[in-house]
């Protein structure tokens, strides 16, 4: 999806990252996991939302890293944070009571109700499951943040008809699931992929393609989804990344100060 030599050019990953950052425009606080969520959240601080408060599960509250942290425990997170607290305090006093507006999660597998698996993947019968890293902070991020954004690359291996394991709950089996489970947050409000954006339909809570990125098509998205992906009546195209967005993103990934 790069368009070398034809003016603005970007990769599919950059589209995903830029749109993930844009999704943070209205947030005050964001709970950040490492990887794509960290890239997006740090980009948001440089573009759509300079005042965004980043909360890392390593205990850094209000971190302002000058470069992309290599891990959630990067030393610069502590050095630049408004406050550093212990890990138990972070989960108990800051995440659990619903103080964080947006939780940003990745996923190995995601189903149509935005439930997430990061624990294991079943292979052929008689073969051992593939072991993934596991839950980390995700189950409680998914439960307690005001809303959840999910970022992952759009593939049939990732967007699956049924999870092999439910690590973190999205919309459960559909409308009412979160209420029945007593989950305080609204759950996933957008899944941002390298092809577009999926959002839960208001009536069914089923992920529906609402946006494609420039150069991508609904057909591509459907083909890359493991279930019969519904599309919104009008599928929008996300605005092209601006030069400022791309410059900030690339500086961030190159380790440059911003």
């Amino acid at each position: 999806m790069t368009r070398p030599g034809t003016g603005p050019a970007w990769t599919a990953d950059e589209l995903m990252e830029v749109n993930a950052a844009r999704a943070l425009a209205g947030a005050r606080t964001c709970f950040v996991g490492i990887g794509l969520p960290s890239t997006a959240a740090n980009l948001a601080r440089r573009t759509a939302n300079p005042g965004l408060v980043l909360v890392y599960e390593s205990g850094a509250i209000g971190a302002r890293p000058s470069r992309l942290p290599q891990s959630i425990g990067d030393g610069e997170l502590a050095d630049t944070a408004d406050a550093v607290v212990s890990v138990p305090e972070l989960f108990n006093y800051w995440l659990q009571p619903g103080r964080i507006d947006v939780g940003f999660l990745g996923a190995a597998q995601l189903d149509r109700h935005a439930n997430i698996n990061t624990t294991l993947v079943r292979t052929a019968p008689g073969r051992p499951d593939l072991r993934l890293p596991g839950a980390g902070g995700a189950p409680e991020i998914a439960a307690h943040c005001g809303e959840v954004l999910v970022v992952l690359r759009h593939t049939r291996r990732g967007l699956v008809p049924a999870l092999d394991f439910v690590t973190s709950i999205g919309h459960g089996t559909g409308p009412g699931s979160r209420t029945r489970l007593g989950l305080p947050g609204r759950g996933p409000t957008a899944v941002i992929t390298d092809l577009g954006i999926l959002r839960p339909a208001p009536d069914t809570a089923e992920l529906t393609l609402t946006d494609v990125h420039p150069g991508a098509t609904p057909a591509q998205a459907r083909a890359a989804t493991g279930w019969d992906l519904r599309t919104a009546p009008v599928v929008r195209t996300t605005p092209e990344p601006t030069a400022a967005e791309l410059a900030a993103l690339r500086a961030l990934k190159a380790g440059g100060a911003a």
Binding site: Q70, P88, F91, N92, R131, A135, G182
Partner: protein
């Protein structure tokens, strides 16, 4: 008061076959040198507890010393999988690995309950996930005031906690700062504790954000400069990100791992 010992004597005295051991440090201050001494000593049949097993437990698991792993996130942060961990879980190599799996919030609260001398802690967690059903140390508990059902997690009280800190004084008082993770809880939850430190100093100068553990709450201190490498000790060292990246290739292969272990750990000098 904590005894100040060599790393070799401290590990020999504190870590025994069959022990439940928690080596903590949330990305920062991971006690790698102590883990390598455990490998050299060959303490085996260990139950290892740690929120993020990280390379440190990948190495212990690959060395065949681990019977069971209690954890919440088992990856190579920012890089990918822990291949020795996966090989043990998926293929039972070099021995089968029992796992007990939690969320971070659950593990953090298990340590906090352990530190508080309580048998369990309460959180609003695990709802709707597959974890509670297969983890016997998660159970429902009902609020006697509101009737709400919450998750109870069993306290964890390791036989030994091993952590790395920046400094101790000669009385064994310990100070660490930066991201302080869950180490205070791990030490206080454990029956015995070993703190490796960058430096033993005459006097601990109070630092912003520091956690201080009084020497009478610690069993042993060992001076091990660089003992957190390839993780880091704020104020003393930076994270060796290349080591983490290189581990991915090095550890994929059993023979490559064995060669690394022989050369860099078993062949390493005791400290």
């Amino acid at each position: 008061m904590a005894e100040i010992l060599t790393l070799r004597d401290a590990v020999a005295g504190l870590v025994h076959d069959g022990d439940t051991v928690a080596m903590e440090g949330f990305t920062h201050l991971i006690p790698f040198a102590a883990a390598h001494e455990v490998i050299r000593r060959g303490a085996t049949d260990l139950t290892l507890v740690r929120m993020t097993p990280d390379l440190i437990y990948d190495q212990l698991i690959g060395a065949g010393l681990v019977r069971k792993l209690v954890f919440s996130w088992g990856g190579n942060p920012g890089v990918g999988s822990l291949h020795r961990f996966r090989d043990a879980v998926e293929n039972g190599w070099p021995r089968p690995l029992e796992v007990e799996e939690h969320s971070h919030a659950g593990m953090a609260n298990r340590y906090a309950a352990g530190a508080a001398g309580l048998p369990f802690a309460v959180l609003r967690g695990y709802r709707g996930t597959g974890l509670a059903a297969r983890t016997p140390t998660v159970a429902p508990v009902t609020c006697p005031f509101t009737g709400e059902e919450l998750a109870a997690v069993a306290a964890v009280n390791p036989d030994v906690a091993v952590v790395h800190a920046q400094q101790a004084d000669r009385a064994g008082n310990v100070q660490f700062w930066g991201l302080t993770g869950v180490q205070k809880e791990a030490v206080l939850a454990a029956r015995r504790s070993l703190v490796t430190v960058e430096e033993v100093v005459d006097e601990l100068r109070p630092r912003p954000g520091a956690v201080v553990l009084p020497g009478w709450a610690v069993t042993a201190v060992a001076e091990v400069p660089g003992g957190a490498h390839p993780s880091y000790a704020a104020g003393y060292s930076v994270r060796d990100n290349a080591y983490y990246r290189d581990w991915d290739a090095l550890s994929r292969d059993r023979a490559g791992f064995a060669a690394w272990l022989a050369e860099h750990v078993r062949g390493g000098a005791p400290r």
